[in-house]
């Protein structure tokens, strides 16, 4: 079965992103496919590569990057939410005249249409938030 996930809460603030990750891992372990994780609202903060948690804590951002690389998951960050919160990829940084970008490997910035598409193309869309 194809699963899509939406995360609307940031890392290290609430359990939502941890729950979403554990769910994705379990779905893959059960032989399902996780096609896309859409990060919306504060969820976009899951995709900044500048995150440096203490060494004895889980690295939420890297964890997403790794599972995406291993299982071909499309990690999409909502562009409007991302711009408000200072999350930029190379193109957006250029377009906005900023001196750096900060998007983590495996993530890409796109629009809300990607969430709608994920809902249409997947068998289930599961939402995790606060």
């Amino acid at each position: 079965m194809k699963f899509a996930i939406m995360v609307s809460e940031g890392p290290y603030t609430h359990q939502a992103t941890d729950s979403a990750y554990q769910f994705a891992k379990a779905a893959i372990a059960k032989g399902h496919e996780v096609t896309r994780v859409f990060f919306y609202h504060d969820g976009v903060n899951n995709g900044t590569r500048l995150t440096v948690p203490p060494q004895d804590d889980r690295h939420i951002v890297n964890r997403w990057s790794e599972i995406a690389a291993q299982h071909n998951i499309d990690l999409v960050i909502c562009i409007a939410a991302a711009q408000r919160r200072g999350l930029l990829d190379e193109n957006e940084a250029k377009r906005q005249g900023k001196d750096a970008d900060n998007i983590a490997p495996g993530f890409r910035i796109s629009g809300l249409g990607q969430l709608v598409e994920a809902g249409i193309q997947s068998d289930r869309l599961v939402v995790f938030g606060d």
Partner: protein, 98 residues
């Protein structure tokens, strides 16, 4: 429909809403994160869960993390994340009551 509740009944009215509007849709309730507090034995929401008329599932890792292993009411079904996935796959729709 699978109704997912992730908030304590003392924080929000999500669970009450689910029990009010979803009773007869043939679905199930899954309590995750702080939602698991609703299933504490002798707690304020035990009676309403018992009379919900729909199966109630509790995400075991979240109950365990809150020390509720042996403190949950009778009649709820414990699931791990794999069971969570099975519940989602087994229902046509999933609604997270955020």
């Amino acid at each position: 429909m699978l109704h997912i509740v992730n908030k304590s009944p003392f924080d929000t009215g999500s669970l009450a809403s689910v029990l009010r509007v979803a009773k007869k849709d043939g679905g199930a309730v899954l309590l995750i994160e702080d939602g698991v507090y609703a299933a504490v034995k002798n707690g304020a929401t035990e009676a309403s869960l018992k009379s919900a008329g729909m199966p109630v599932y509790v995400l075991q890792p979240d109950a365990d993390a809150r020390g509720l292993q042996s403190r949950l009411m009778d009649g709820v079904n414990m699931v791990d994340y794999g069971g969570f996935v099975d519940l989602v796959a087994g229902h046509d729709n999933v609604q997270s009551w955020l």
